[in-house]
C-alpha cells in the first residue's frame, strides 16, 4: 500500500526525470548543499570571529586576510556572510515545517468537514488579504524580536496558502470511489483523513514547501533589513545589509555580497521547486505531450 502511494506521487523513472528537468536543478541542488554545509560548519569555514570588532581595520578592501574586506566596525565580511547562512536556513526550514504541518491539519479538516470549511476559509481569506511583510513586522515589533517570534510571524501569513492547496486536493479526492468505499465500510474519520486523503496532498505539498521555504528566507531578510528581525548582534544577511546602508556609496560590496548569498540561496530553492513541480504535477506532463 505504502509502495503504491509512493509510486502514485512519484510516477516517473529517474531517467525520464533527468531528461525533463535539465541541468539547472542539479546545479541548484549542489549550490544549496554547499550553502547548507557552510552553515553547519560555519566555525570551520569562517576565518574570523564574525562579531570581533577591530577599529583599526575599518572598511578595508578585500585582502588575503579578509577575503571580502571588513565592515564599519572592522569585522570580517566573509565570516559574517558565512554565519548569516545559519539564521536564513533555520528560519527557512522552521517556517516550512511549521506552516506545512499546521496548514495540512487545517486544510484536511476544512476540505472534509463542510461546516468547518466556511468559517476556516473566511479566516484564511482575511489572513491572505493582509500583506505578509506588514503583518510580520507588526507582530515582531509588538511581541519583541527573537528567532522564535520571527519564525512565528513569518509562519502565520504562509499558512493560508498551504491550507488552500490541501483543501483543494481533499475536495477532489473525497469524491473518489475508494474514499466513499472506506466511509461506507465504517472506517473512522481520522483514519479516512490520515490513510486515504492525506497521501494525495504529498506531491503538491512538496512543491509548495519549496516555495514557502524561499519566501520565508526572503521575508526574514526583509525583516532584518528593515530592522524588525532577529537582534542586530546576530549576523544575518539582512542585518549585514541593514548596517551597510549608510556606507553604501562608500563601500557597496558590504550590501552586494550578502545580497548575492541571499539571492543564490533563494534562486536554488526556487529552481528545485520548479523542477519538483515539473516532475510531480501531472498537468505539466499533459501540456508538454
Amino acid at each position: 500500500m505504502a509502495e503504491k502511494t509512493l509510486r502514485g506521487a512519484f510516477p516517473l523513472s529517474t531517467r525520464k526525470i533527468s531528461a525533463r528537468i535539465g541541468i539547472a536543478p542539479i546545479i541548484a541542488a549542489v549550490v544549496l548543499l554547499i550553502i547548507i554545509l557552510i552553515a553547519i560548519f560555519a566555525p570551520l569555514v569562517a576565518p574570523h570571529d564574525p562579531l570581533l570588532q577591530n577599529p583599526i581595520e575599518r572598511l578595508k578592501p578585500p585582502s588575503s586576510d579578509h577575503l571580502l574586506g571588513t565592515d564599519n566596525y572592522g569585522r570580517d565580511l566573509f565570516s559574517r556572510v558565512v554565519y548569516g547562512a545559519r539564521v536564513s536556513l533555520v528560519i527557512g526550514i522552521g517556517v516550512t515545517i511549521l506552516s506545512v504541518v499546521i496548514g495540512l491539519a487545517v486544510g484536511l479538516v476544512s476540505g472534509f468537514f463542510r461546516t468547518a470549511d466556511a468559517v476556516i476559509m473566511r479566516i484564511m481569506d482575511g489572513l491572505m488579504a493582509m500583506p505578509s511583510v506588514l503583518l510580520a513586522i507588526a507582530i515582531v515589533s509588538l511581541v519583541g524580536a527573537s528567532i522564535w517570534t520571527v519564525m512565528a510571524a513569518i509562519t502565520i501569513p504562509e499558512i493560508p496558502r498551504v491550507v488552500r492547496l490541501v483543501r483543494s486536493v481533499v475536495l477532489t479526492a473525497r469524491e473518489e470511489p475508494y474514499v466513499e468505499a472506506a466511509i461506507a465500510l465504517g472506517t473512522s474519520m481520522p483514519r479516512v483523513l490520515w490513510r486515504h486523503l492525506m497521501p494525495n496532498t504529498f506531491a503538491p505539498l512538496t512543491v509548495q514547501a519549496t516555495y514557502v521555504c524561499a519566501s520565508a528566507i526572503l521575508t526574514e531578510a526583509i525583516l532584518s533589513f528593515l530592522g524588525a528581525g532577529v537582534s542586530t548582534e546576530t549576523p544575518t544577511w539582512g542585518n549585514i545589509m541593514a548596517e551597510a546602508r549608510v556606507f553604501f556609496q562608500l563601500k557597496p560590496s558590504l550590501i552586494l555580497w550578502p545580497g548575492l548569498a541571499l539571492s543564490l540561496c533563494i534562486l536554488s530553492i526556487n529552481l528545485l521547486g520548479d523542477a519538483a513541480r515539473d516532475v510531480l504535477d501531472p498537468r505539466m506532463g499533459k501540456r508538454e505531450d
Binding site: R122, I123, D125, G126, L127, M128, A129, M130, P131, S132, V133, L134, L135, I137, A138, I139, S141, L142, V143, A214, L218, A221, I222, F225, L226, G227, A228, M241, F248, Q249, P252, I255, L256, G259, L260, L262, S263, I266, L267, N270, L271, D274, R287
Partner: protein, 313 residues
C-alpha cells in the same frame, strides 16, 4: 451582473471583518500591558495613562472593539500616538509618492511583461524563451532591496545617470520626479514583470493548442493577428488574476523600496510607525492595504466578463 456584484461586495465584508478582528486583537493579545508595550520601558505613568485613554484600553475588550469598528465605519481611523494628528491626515499626506510609483510600476510591468510572455510562448523552446524564463526565475529570486541597490550602484554611482535617492513631487518638478522615480519603479517592477511574463507565457501556451487558433492560422491570418487577436485575448483572464494576486507583492515591495530609495510614502510611514510603536497608524495601514488588496481583486474579477464574453455573471 448587479446581483453578482452585490454578492461579491457582500463576500468582501467577512474578509475585512477578519482583518479588523486580527489587527485589533494583535495588540490586545500580546502578552503584557498593551500601553506599556507601546510606550516602551522608559514611559512615565502619565504617558501610560494617556495611551490608555487614547486607545480606550480601560474599557472591556468588547466595548473597545465595538467603539473602534463604529468609528472606522464613520471614517475615523484614530489618532497617532506620536504626533497626535488624525491617522487619516497622515495617510493623505504620504500617499501620493506611493500612488505615483505604484502606477508607474504597474504600467511598466504590463508593457514589458506581456510582450515578453507572448514572444516566449510563440517561440517556445527557443533561446528567447529560455532568456525570458531565466529572467523570470531571477526576478522571483533576487530580493527587491538587492535589485534596488544593484540599480543604484550601476545607474547612480557608477554611471551617474540618475540621482541616488530621494523624491520630488511631479507637480513641483516633473523632471526631478521622473529621474528619481525610474529606479524605484524598475526595482518594484522586477518581481511583477517576472510574475506576469511567466503567467502570460503559460496561459498563451494553453491557448495556442486550441482548435480556434489552428482555424485562424488555417484561414491564412498573419501570425501577429493570430497571437494578439485570437490567442492573447483568450489568455488574458489568468494574466489578470496574477496581476491581482501579485498586488500583495507590490505592497510588500513598496515598504522595502521606499526604505531603499528614501521615498516619503506610505511604505516609509509604515516602517516609521512600527518603530515608534504608533499602533493606531499601524492598525490603519494594515486595514487600508488589505482593503485595497480586496478591492483590486474584486475589480479584476469583474473585468473577466469584459475580457472573455463567455464569462457572464
Amino acid at each position: 451582473m448587479p446581483i453578482y456584484l452585490a454578492r461579491r461586495v457582500l463576500a468582501a465584508i467577512p474578509v475585512m471583518l477578519v482583518v479588523a478582528v486580527f489587527v485589533f486583537l494583535l495588540l490586545r493579545l500580546t502578552p503584557g500591558d498593551p500601553a506599556a508595550i507601546l510606550a516602551g520601558d522608559m514611559a512615565t505613568p502619565e504617558q501610560l495613562e494617556r495611551i490608555r485613554a487614547t486607545l480606550g484600553l480601560n474599557d472591556p475588550i468588547l466595548v473597545q472593539f465595538v467603539r473602534w469598528i463604529g468609528a472606522l465605519l464613520q471614517g475615523d481611523f484614530g489618532t497617532s500616538l506620536i504626533s497626535s494628528t488624525p491617522v487619516i491626515d497622515l495617510v493623505a499626506d504620504r500617499m501620493w509618492p506611493t500612488i505615483w510609483i505604484a502606477l508607474i510600476t504597474i504600467t511598466l510591468s504590463v508593457i514589458v511583461a506581456v510582450p515578453m510572455g507572448v514572444v516566449a510562448a510563440w517561440k517556445q523552446g527557443s533561446w528567447v524563451d529560455h532568456l525570458v524564463m531565466t529572467f523570470s526565475v531571477l526576478g522571483f529570486s533576487i530580493p527587491v532591496f538587492v535589485i534596488g541597490y544593484l540599480l543604484i550602484k550601476v545607474f547612480a554611482i557608477d554611471l551617474r545617470w540618475l540621482p541616488v535617492q530621494g523624491y520630488k513631487a511631479p507637480s513641483q518638478d516633473l523632471a526631478g520626479f521622473a529621474s528619481r522615480a525610474v529606479l524605484p519603479a524598475l526595482t518594484l517592477a522586477s518581481i511583477y514583470i517576472a510574475l506576469i511574463a511567466r503567467m502570460t507565457r503559460a496561459s498563451l501556451l494553453d491557448v495556442l493548442n486550441e482548435d480556434y487558433v489552428r482555424t485562424a492560422r488555417a484561414k491564412g491570418l498573419t501570425e501577429t493577428r493570430v497571437l494578439f487577436r485570437h490567442a492573447l485575448r483568450n489568455a488574458a483572464v489568468p494574466v489578470m488574476t496574477v496581476i491581482g494576486t501579485g498586488f500583495a507583492l507590490l505592497i510588500s515591495g513598496v515598504v522595502v523600496t521606499e526604505s531603499v530609495y528614501n521615498i516619503p510614502g506610505l511604505g516609509r510611514l509604515t516602517v516609521d510607525s512600527i518603530f515608534a510603536r504608533d499602533y493606531p497608524v499601524i492598525q490603519a495601514l494594515i486595514l487600508l492595504t488589505s482593503g485595497i488588496y480586496v478591492l483590486v481583486n474584486l475589480l479584476i474579477d469583474l473585468s473577466y466578463s469584459l475580457l472573455d464574453p463567455r464569462i457572464r455573471y
